[in-house]
């Protein structure tokens, strides 16, 4: 299991805390780094070349400053991050959101359920899949 952090890009404080809670419940020990808008996410990813990349980015779509799809586009166009696993984790399942996310190269699209029980299950599975099951792309390729 990778020890690299998870980057959560989410602006709603309640959602941030609930996600942290769900991660804690599913015994995921990786650090959860929170970026509260798209610009903060880009700053984290590109600001310090020595930092290394997160294991996975959990990306909301509706964000202040730089919105989620734009964050995704910049991740995919930059040589350093173009293979970084990005999971869209958002409230809507509007077709336009899903289509655009996949077109821009999202690895997965998860709609946050209203039910916290279901949400916790989803987060636990997410953790198992992206942190343990999935072989991450080689760094620097």
């Amino acid at each position: 299991m990778t020890k690299r952090p998870i980057l959560l890009v989410e602006d709603n404080p309640s959602d941030i805390q609930l996600t942290q809670r769900a991660f804690a419940k599913s015994n995921i020990a990786n650090e959860l780094v929170v970026a509260e808008d798209g610009q903060a996410a880009l700053d984290y990813l590109f600001g310090d070349p020595g930092r290394g990349l997160p294991a996975v980015v959990l990306l909301d779509l509706k964000l202040p400053r730089v919105e989620g799809l734009e964050v995704l586009r910049r991740i995919r166009t930059d040589q350093r991050t173009h293979l970084l696993p990005v999971v869209i984790l958002t409230t809507s399942k509007e077709e336009q959101d899903m289509v655009q996310s996949y077109q821009l190269g999202a690895n997965s699209y998860i709609r946050k359920p209203v039910s916290f029980v279901e949400f916790s299950e989803a987060v636990a599975r997410l953790g198992v899949y992206w942190l343990a099951l999935n072989e991450a792309p080689p760094v620097g390729k």
């Binding site: 709603n12 309640s14 959602d15 509007e94 359920p113 039910s115 916290f116 949400f119």
Partner: protein
């Protein structure tokens, strides 16, 4: 054209006018060609009005008015003393002789020609002599009018299309916002209620925990309502495809799915083979999912449940059908599909409410639901140019009928 008329008839001046009617049905003329007889400030203004296309003549008590009201030629060789005359504006050249000719094209009275001051006046012979030229003028005016009407209709259609597109965009943006922003707080309410139970459950008695369970159940219900509402709006917004759809196969797979989720139930299902239609596969799936899902739900209290999907043989059922038929009473010769169950049914007295959004005919404690399913079904059926209606009786079951206009032929 006017020049030819003036030359051939030997007239000094004249006009060709198109005839219109006011909203009260009063005829009036609008100048299409007129001799420039600008002889003073006022008439120069008239000519300028003509050039801009807004020079209208409304006076019926006049020589040209007599042509409008009778639809017949008017000859007035002693114009100044003619009882029908309406007078000329100050500064207008003297009107000595006048010939007014109605313009008919395809039995429609489309305009009037006015000619003035032929030396020696006008006669029936002049009218006969002018006839081919007058007819050409009438045809030209009629063609011009129909071309203009076509352009107007096209412009109106284009502007309606733009309005409709704008409305659709707005609806799209609204639904998008609902989808993102309305569900998020629900997740908070549900999540923090759970957190309360998990972290402080020990400080709550059984009733307190029950209240929180109700809070969670209600947020779930709100979540379902939002989802159903979004689906209802998506059904209206979605672009329609038209292709052959195997309804029998679709119904079979939906029923298999229902059975999978509800293994302990004994339900006899009958699907007629070979039922096909032309339409949008995803939307038609939604229709069958809702109707079969309802049948499944409302037979849940039956020991011997039965659900049937088929097509009617013979003419439309008449009795209850027409009372809540969605649209039109023209005889229908296409296929009528039906989904019949022996479940709870409903009282036909409430049938009118059946297809309204959020309308329910059963208590939530008896049968759960948001009341959006049949509204969705109706919208889809209407988008396919079909009708949907139901027949039922309390406690003995319900039959839902639907037609799809694109069933027999593809209109697109």
């Amino acid at each position: 054209m006017l020049k030819s008329l003036l030359t051939v008839s030997g007239s000094a001046y004249g006009f060709i006018d198109e005839m219109f009617h006011t909203s009260e049905g009063k005829p009036y003329l609008s100048a299409r060609a007129i001799t420039d007889i600008s002889w003073n400030e006022q008439t120069r203004g008239m000519y300028a009005q003509f050039v801009s296309g807004t020079l209208n003549f409304t006076k019926l008590e006049s020589l040209f008015g007599a042509v409008m009201t009778t639809g017949k030629p008017v000859i007035a060789n002693n114009a100044p003393n003619d009882p029908r005359r309406g007078g000329v504006p100050p500064g207008h050249p003297a009107l000595n002789a006048f010939l007014g000719l109605p313009l008919h094209s395809n039995n429609r009275f489309v305009g009037v020609i006015g000619l003035a001051n032929r030396p020696g006046g006008y006669s029936e012979e002049v009218i006969t002599y002018l006839q081919p030229l007058v007819q050409a003028c009438a045809n030209l005016l009629a063609a011009w009018r129909s071309e203009r009407q076509r352009e107007e209709a096209e412009a109106a259609l284009a502007s309606r299309t733009i309005q409709l597109e704008a409305a659709n965009k707005e609806l799209e943006a609204f639904a998008y916002s609902v989808s993102h922003d309305l569900r998020a707080p629900l997740r908070g309410i549900d999540g923090w209620s759970h957190a309360l139970v998990e972290d402080y459950g020990g400080k709550l008695d059984a009733q307190g925990r029950e209240y929180l369970a109700t809070v969670c159940a209600e947020t779930q219900r709100m979540g379902r309502l939002i989802d159903d509402l979004l689906q209802l709006s998506r059904v209206t917004r979605a672009e329609m495809r038209r292709e052959p759809v195997d309804l029998s196969a679709l119904a079979g797979s939906i029923l298999a799915g229902l059975r999978q989720h509800d293994r302990q139930r004994q339900v006899e299902t009958v699907v007629a083979p070979g039922l096909t239609a032309t339409g949008d596969p995803q939307l038609l799936r939604l229709v069958l999912e809702n109707l079969l899902g309802n049948a499944w739900k409302f037979t849940s209290k039956r020991a011997q449940a039965r659900i049937e999907f088929g097509r009617l043989a013979g003419p439309l059922p008449s009795a209850g059908a027409t009372s809540i038929a969605a649209s039109g009473d023209a005889p229908y010769n296409g296929t009528v599909f039906f989904i019949r169950d022996n479940g709870a049914g409903f009282d036909m007295a409430h049938a009118a409410k059946l297809f309204g959004a959020f309308q329910r005919l059963h208590r939530p404690s008896e049968f759960p639901g948001t009341g959006v399913g049949l509204a969705t079904v109706q919208r889809i059926i209407h988008r396919h140019g079909g009708r949907v209606w139901a027949e039922a009786a309390q406690d003995t079951g319900a039959t839902f009928y639907f037609t799809l206009a694109t069933n027999e032929s593809n209109h697109d």
